[in-house]
Symmetry: C2
Subunit: 735 residues, 2 copies
Amino acid sequence: MFRLLTTISLFLLSSLLYAQHPVGFYSKADLDYVKANLVGNALLQQSLASIKKETDPWLDKPVDVPMPKDAAGGYSHERHKANYLLLFNSGILYSVTGKQAYADLIARVLLQYAKLNPGLKKHPQATSSSPGRIFWQALNDANWMVYASMAYDMAFNGIKKSDRDLITQNAFKPEVDFITQDLSTWFNLIHNHAVWATAAVGMVGIATDNEQYIQLALKGSSGNGSSGFYALMGQLFSPDGYYTEGPYYTRYALLPFMIFANALENKFPEQHLFQYRNAILEKAVNTALQHTNLDGMFFPMNDAIKDKDYTTGEMLMALNVATKAYGVKPAYLFVAKKQGRVLLGKGGVQLAKAMADPKAIPNWFPYTSIENTDGPSGKQGGLDILRLGKGEELSSLLFKYTSHGLSHGHFDKLNLNLFDGGKEILQDYGSARFVGVEQKYGGRYLPENGKYAVQTIAHNTLVVDETSHFKGEEKIAENFAPIKRFSALGQPNLLVASAMDTNATTGVRMDRSVYFLQMPNGQKILVDLLKASSATQHQYDLPFHYLGQFIHASFPYQSSKNSMTVLGKKNGYQYLWKEAEANVANTMLQFSFMNGKTFYSLSSLIQDSAKLFFARSGANDPDFNLRHDPVFVIRKNASNQTFVNVLEIHGKYDPVMETSSGGNASVQQINLVQDNQEMTVASVMVNGQALLICESRNDLNKNSQHQFEMGGKKMEWIGPYAIFYQGRKLSGGTY
Amino acid sequence: MFRLLTTISLFLLSSLLYAQHPVGFYSKADLDYVKANLVGNALLQQSLASIKKETDPWLDKPVDVPMPKDAAGGYSHERHKANYLLLFNSGILYSVTGKQAYADLIARVLLQYAKLNPGLKKHPQATSSSPGRIFWQALNDANWMVYASMAYDMAFNGIKKSDRDLITQNAFKPEVDFITQDLSTWFNLIHNHAVWATAAVGMVGIATDNEQYIQLALKGSSGNGSSGFYALMGQLFSPDGYYTEGPYYTRYALLPFMIFANALENKFPEQHLFQYRNAILEKAVNTALQHTNLDGMFFPMNDAIKDKDYTTGEMLMALNVATKAYGVKPAYLFVAKKQGRVLLGKGGVQLAKAMADPKAIPNWFPYTSIENTDGPSGKQGGLDILRLGKGEELSSLLFKYTSHGLSHGHFDKLNLNLFDGGKEILQDYGSARFVGVEQKYGGRYLPENGKYAVQTIAHNTLVVDETSHFKGEEKIAENFAPIKRFSALGQPNLLVASAMDTNATTGVRMDRSVYFLQMPNGQKILVDLLKASSATQHQYDLPFHYLGQFIHASFPYQSSKNSMTVLGKKNGYQYLWKEAEANVANTMLQFSFMNGKTFYSLSSLIQDSAKLFFARSGANDPDFNLRHDPVFVIRKNASNQTFVNVLEIHGKYDPVMETSSGGNASVQQINLVQDNQEMTVASVMVNGQALLICESRNDLNKNSQHQFEMGGKKMEWIGPYAIFYQGRKLSGGTY
């Protein structure tokens, strides 16, 4: 990396001497390509017409550049946001049509900012540690800089020199100085904000031919590359492209990554930036797209709002650049079709041309089971996505054993989330935030985010002694990640993943393994083994945040009738109303719910005694910020405890035809055949057929032999785990 | 009517002597038409291929006709249901293709029923007052008879005489005897069940050439026409086609009405049955279609499940017959396109032919504002649907002042429901029932239906002294309906409806008027005046069952934190958790919520003091049968009380772009300028402009002059109501 930086530094001087524009969003070659292919393609014409329709009314109308005043959702915030999008679209239109009026519009608006920006101080609504000037947080100022500088670069040749100087000095420089000097700590973070901040400064540098800005952006304030854009590309992604903050923020960070990379590629093509770190940005885009549900929504891990899908503006931009850099791919065409429009850059035009042949677009996104490592070297745990079924029958199980994920991480080691047929079945709450809604704390994260949504109890993983993982301390959590035990994701019907954690809960080792199987009759079954081991007694709570209509419980329970209290006092428990509770002992309990037209049944082995709770979020929520979603909690008091849970997807309900079928669970019995320091063997009776899940505890060698006796018969297997069905060992996805 | 019946009686004998088949579903002419037009139409070929695909696998496979055992959702129930649909489809296929194998399949299955049916007694799961034999309730037996007899009729010429005799005597006769003799009271009801029952007997009569059955079906057991099909056509609909049980049951009842009418038309074309009662069935179909939301869902008034839209099998059949009888209409084409298939009857073929020209199909269903009367003479109140906006911007306000609506009616006089852009905004709970889900009480109505969903507090109308209308007694409720005061639905931007009730709440007169306006800037505003008048003091609760995310309340409230109790003890109140409460006095309160991408704000004038509650359904619900939906309740203690509420639809939130606009309410002030025995005048300040709603209390004469003083200025108007905006009187939808 060091050599690359040096090379760019040497190259800068000469390139700036002969500075050509446009070079930020478009290279000259890009623009020629776009112009040459614009005519005759309906999608391109629509996309052009759409931005013309938004932009043209402003050509002869004043654009308000108000004094910053409001939080997100308020007038001044929304106006400044609309302004930078207007600037960017005008830049595209000027580039493509050559019509001077668009350049004039850009000059006119940027000159207004040149008047406004020099006098700005901290935004009156600023509350974050990185306050903004035009906006309440600096992040939005960086957004403004990225778009405004691209617009400026595109219109460069249509703005007279004296105006360019005013804009450079008074619109851009105060913002660059502000975020690189006043906010230098923030600027030098390894975090999605810094991706925006460095892209902002770098893009302004490229647009205004300022070498110093580009250097700052690439190498950080120190100039040694410990921060800045290269450090971010190097450290925020794992080697396979997993972005450490999770899919929701990947989406957000991809835009500055891709857009600045594109500008750098245009400016310094010899550096082959798109190939940097084995083409990490290609991996990042492909991984981000795999981290979506059937409906295109990004999986809501960590702080995430469940509104964001791959049709957002960020992904439109990312797809445009990725296509230019890495070529047209079927997956990109599928997403581009869902986006319904293309960006008028080179990649967008390539996509539109390819989409002119409808047969080139696949019917479904090519989702696969994948394993991502986390951390810059891929050594901080990971994320497994286990996928069964095809097309609209796709089921995706997320098994999360990543690192904490920076400031937006949740305390959810070994968490599970299940998606089926486009729906969330075992949910992650996501984040408590209404982004862009002024009345909801200016669109910021709400208090209930930190107090409930990030806590362990808001997830589908083990809570020990009513305390969140790492006691809910981000600083501690950042030092640890779980360890993968074994996995097998290459087989179509038989997906396995297992990981272990010894740090999240003091004195307790957690091992969790998931076996996601499609049975010969097509039924999908998840066997979830969670083993908690400790030298001392603890309260173990295992929550299942199911989404759907309660259908049936196999056990008696006492429900709250005329009054109701909370589940606990701290660590998120105070946000859960206790709707019902039960005491059970030595049984297999079954709980069924329905979501959409499908039934789901959880069958759980209860050895000894356990308490069960049906709870619902929404307590202690004076501002009605939380959703009222249900959770089923299994509570055990023990030192060593193996939870064996089987979740099956079954049946079909047709409310229009008023028919249902397969509405009853097929799991009849669960037993722990063996459960000791050497191995765990669980037997699950499904529709009269025995399914046997065997795993070794500590010897995870692929060649180790294991054996146990069952019903007087000796059973043997090799490797860390084995699955037997009707007495035969399964492998390679065959029964 | 008497003459018509006599004519049919005289005609019967001769027609039966020369009985031709098919005549139930198809007339010979229909079938010729279908066959002649089948080739070359893609939709017809798809529809044919689709039923072939379902049917053909059974041609060489045994069909199970199990001993009746299970409730709805269970195996035997679902199998018998699948069987009658298989029979019907086989009948279609035999008719259209002439392939003997289909007739053989029908004979084979019906002969199995001929073995089963004679020995059947009351179904083991029977719980209703009309127990079934093949199914748990007789209604489903009637379904079976309708479909099975059509199949038999279609296959008549392909079944040998001896088998026909066995089927007639042993499959059909026991069922006819059962429902006309054992269940004669039920058979003679005026109720949707009886529509099915009479159609069932009549269709069997037509299929088996049995004059007595046809007579029973047409004139009821008494033979005098006080019950039976003609009485049902005469009494269940109002003159304009409103079906007294409400839209959900209209859908269900339309099928037997249409299918039996079709068979009667085929059998006795000289009777012009489709023109009976000024073509009441055409009005019924058109009204039913108008009683749907933008997404095609039937408005959930009375007992209704919110899953039923106009693509159900019943509406497919209704549309097929309506098209044959009344011709192709744009509205039918729109719905047929949504259905995505057609029935292979004459009307279905007509639709498919017309749909071959895509330009013939409108982009949107032609929804309009309509007023329906209720009751056979149109004198039992009514239902007004006030519609503003077009296309996907359509907003529909339901104002319900109907009669009770028989056994599925709710206690909700002067209820309001608001739909906007395809979404429910002020909801009716609908019914507490999971039809077809065996685990939920066999798919029957759940206890919470009667105890909560039908109660007044589950609606958006006034509850007096925590007691439901008519004290929740159906027998009392059936005797009364509110009285319409005035309405004006013909203007595009200015819709008005008003009604009064003096019977639902002893000693209290309720007047409610709704003014649904689209303002010059496009904003939609509902002004809701509800006046309760009594000689004595009462507790008046006005609930708003909003659907959406709580955004902002203008008043301080105390929320339930660590514990929560119910709102009340009886009449549905015990099912509501009290999440927060407030005491307010002499103010205008405002409460905003968001649904989808739109904001909604309720502004309410509080004179004197009031209590407010935020509550949520789900208390005292041990089986988790209820949804957990929010409600905002305004409580006043008073003798005379005028509630002035303004609900505005405003703003846009774009979660993908993270922008919002217009998120704040625009109503700034509400005053009661006059409120006495003569008139009520409410002033609403909207964005700085005064909107004045004036209405006379008792003198509703169109020519009466009214006047009042405001700010020293004399205001005058003529008629029962007037609207002034910025000082000018509005009329005809102009500002």
